[in-house]
């Protein structure tokens, strides 16, 4: 660990979800359910801990790689860091402006044009009107979508949407990036562009949390890594050690 200021501090984090045995989210079903007093079919759910007692910290300018198999809690962790869902137990502290790229999008509206979405996202990130306006063109250029500025988002391919999401998140200059397996959808040229950007972030001292299935990316970009399995931290430390732990666990 370096001596830099801690910008992400996660202590004893737990996140519990309720998984209903039957999906029930209507008034009609609730009433129907309440009437079946003596039947075994009454609404019940299982509690599921997506994250359990997760503790780590990330210093300013550091990059953290998060690896683990599907369903191990990686995306849940990023959502908690981004403030989108709240922890059930423990505490999470994130200092600075963060930009999450979760899955395909960053909070776009399918019925608005690419340009309008850029403007809206810019204002979500707290940019002023003029600042947003001046960035629309550079963002479209970085995404390689100059010709599609006035197209509705729903008419763009998933790769194009990802490129736009990445470009807009980059251009709003956040202090922290949370990226969730997003790069896999982009084509090779765009992946190369993103990798250049990651280098730039690191040089500029921005903090990166990268959820990925690519061990190469973890080795190349991350100062430290954690391996999650069933919501628990199996191993934390240097990327090599954590990757070895993850791979050896899979081979057993």
């Amino acid at each position: 660990m370096t001596q830099s200021e801690v910008v992400i501090r996660v202590e004893g984090l737990g996140k519990k979800f309720r998984i209903p045995h039957q999906k029930r989210n209507s008034v009609f079903e609730s009433i129907a359910n309440a009437l079946q007093v003596f039947e075994a079919e009454r609404f019940s759910y299982e509690e599921f801990w997506a994250l359990e007692d997760v503790t780590f910290s990330v210093g300013e300018g550091e990059s953290l790689g998060v690896i683990g198999s599907n369903g191990s809690g990686k995306s849940t962790l990023l959502k908690v860091l981004a403030g989108i869902i709240r922890p059930t137990t423990g505490s999470v502290e994130v200092k600075g402006k963060s930009a999450p790229i979760l899955g395909l999008g960053v909070g776009f509206h399918p019925d608005l044009t690419a340009k309008d979405n850029i403007r809206m996202y810019g204002s979500i990130m707290g940019l002023g009107r003029e600042e947003v306006r001046s960035k629309v063109q550079p963002i479209l250029e970085f995404a390689g979508l100059e010709k599609f500025g006035d197209a509705k988002l729903r008419n763009l391919s998933s790769g194009m949407q990802l490129r736009l999401a990445f470009a807009v998140a980059v251009e709003t200059r956040p202090d922290l990036f949370f990226i969730d397996e997003a790069l896999a959808v982009g084509d090779l040229d765009f992946q190369a562009k993103c990798i250049d950007k990651f280098r730039e972030f690191r040089e500029e001292g921005r903090t990166l949390v990268l959820v990925t299935q690519s061990m190469d990316q973890v080795k190349t970009f991350c100062d430290q890594a954690i391996h999650l399995a069933h919501g628990k931290v199996m191993k934390a430390g240097s990327p090599e050690a954590v990757i070895n732990d993850y791979l050896s666990g899979r081979n057993n």
Binding site: S26, V27, I84, P100, F108, D116, S123
Partner: protein
């Protein structure tokens, strides 16, 4: 709860514009279409009143009914569209964080803007049809602001509830249908027996419709009681709405 959100001013403006663009399908024609509904209702109700009820005790019925219809639409469209403010914006709720109350606020503001435009667009027509503007007509904006606060408060409640119960819109539709008949929109509240009037006017929209008609159709001042009741219900629902929204806010990300 709204303090410290000043940096989100641009976002609210963007969201209102977004709401508007989506609602009116990006065209000025879309707004003209939205005027068609109250106008058609005015014509239908006037025909009904004149030829089915065969009545003429209300002078200039079109001008009697249109302001009430517009005040009702403000309430009905505002509250029913709020049901989707959180549940229908999953991309904005699950992909990025900002205070979610802004989604409800911007929806209510967009609706208020739409309703204001309806009043502005149709007021000349009312004048042509015989409405006389008086000094009391200037009270209309105050009534509409209070109605906006009531709608916003209710919207906070409704948008929270519909995250948990996705079919709540069906139930709210029934409420609105009842409300349309239980408010003196196409009839005068003089028809209500005086013994029932107290119960009848618990409905805050009833007071709003009466006050709107009073300042526009009758050109007189609304009663102090109407004003006080409207203001009180607006404040009460705003308080309840803020409390409920704050309580449920933490679970929206899990459920949407």
């Amino acid at each position: 709860m709204l303090r410290g959100y000043s940096r989100y001013g641009d976002l609210v403006r963007m969201l209102v514009v977004k709401e508007f663009k989506v609602r009116y399908r990006n065209s000025a024609l879309g707004f003209l279409w939205s005027l068609l509904n109250p106008l058609a209702m005015m014509v239908i109700l006037t025909i009904f009143y004149t030829f089915v009820f065969y009545s003429s005790s209300i002078a200039n019925y079109p001008v009697f009914v249109l302001p009430a219809l517009l005040a009702w639409r403000f309430f009905a469209i505002g509250t029913s569209s709020s049901l989707d403010a959180i549940a229908g914006n999953s991309a904005l709720v699950t992909k990025v964080y900002f205070p979610r109350i802004l989604l409800v606020l911007s929806g209510s503001l967009a609706n208020a803007l739409g309703s204001t435009l309806e009043f502005v667009a149709l007021l000349p027509l009312m004048v042509v049809l015989g409405l006389r503007l008086t000094a009391f007509s200037a009270l209309l904006p105050i009534i509409l602001v209070l109605e906006f606060i009531l709608i916003f408060g209710l919207s906070l409640l409704l948008s929270s509830v519909s995250v948990f119960y996705r079919d709540f819109n069906q139930i709210w539709e029934i409420f609105l249908q009842a409300g349309f008949f239980l408010s003196p929109i196409f009839y005068s509240q003089d028809l209500i027996p005086s013994g029932l009037l107290t119960v009848y006017s618990i409905n805050p929209v009833e007071r709003i419709v009466v006050a709107t008609r009073q300042v526009l159709y009758y050109g007189g001042p609304p009663t102090g009681l109407d004003f006080a009741a409207i203001a009180l219900s607006a404040v009460v629902f705003l308080g309840l709405g803020l409390l409920a929204f704050r309580h449920f806010d933490g679970r929206f990300g899990d459920l949407v």
